[in-house]
Symmetry: C2
Subunit: 163 residues, 2 copies
Amino acid sequence: MKEESIVVLGVDPGFGITGFGVIRRGGNTVSVCDYGFLKLKPTDSLSCRVGVFYSFFQEKIKTHGVTCVSLETSFLGKNAQTFLKLGFLRGVLYLLADQNNLKIIEFSPMEIKQAITGFGGAGKDQVSFMIQRLFPRIIFQGEIKYKDVTDALAIGLCGAWSK
Amino acid sequence: MKEESIVVLGVDPGFGITGFGVIRRGGNTVSVCDYGFLKLKPTDSLSCRVGVFYSFFQEKIKTHGVTCVSLETSFLGKNAQTFLKLGFLRGVLYLLADQNNLKIIEFSPMEIKQAITGFGGAGKDQVSFMIQRLFPRIIFQGEIKYKDVTDALAIGLCGAWSK
């Protein structure tokens, strides 16, 4: 029986920069289909930014035939209101998962670091370094916020590797 | 010039019970068009519950021609993960506001209590009592979680009274 390929959308959401990576796994090969970031305009209203976020990922899901969304579990930081608003974006991803019949998986920051670098206490730099090792064809140009993108790719890769 | 009527959807979101009230204001009269609650099934997946929440309020917005969504500002309670998930539902309401071109207003718990009872430190019972005074035709039947509903009506009423 031929194994179906799975397409994972890894997202590292934020109201400033949201990194994303789309990873396809067919059998034993894993490849990157798309990656980049979404920058929301701070001058737009909150509801407008939520709407832009929804449309952006709706389009990515359709274009790449995404089958699974992968997220990093978020923990309360210093600012409770920022944390709540992060929930807005995560809620939109859960909604998109429901509307497009996608699986949704969450990984803790430690699980992601462990899976990518072999060490659960690794720093962001190390994750970034490993992602660029694993996918040497990825080229970061100009002012791209590459750590948001490599983080999202790491999250997506965990989804692609799981089960 | 004839004043346009505004239709406010007040929502008190929760993953257990979400109370809602739809209030129409035309000139000096304020009336209740709809009220009740949505109970999400704890056995459903998180994305499914978010999807049900979206569809439920999408339908309410279309049916009543809602022009404005009114919410209570939420503050971090004891459980950070509950607070984050509350953000999911609020995010869905912000998305619906964007998709349907609605205004969205938030009031602090104190503003709501002040507006409804004249006292910012009032209890939930007092808010509930005043709502039933203002709208004596509202009848709560059976196992309805009436305080979630009266809270939502209070939030909606603040929206209808504002500006």
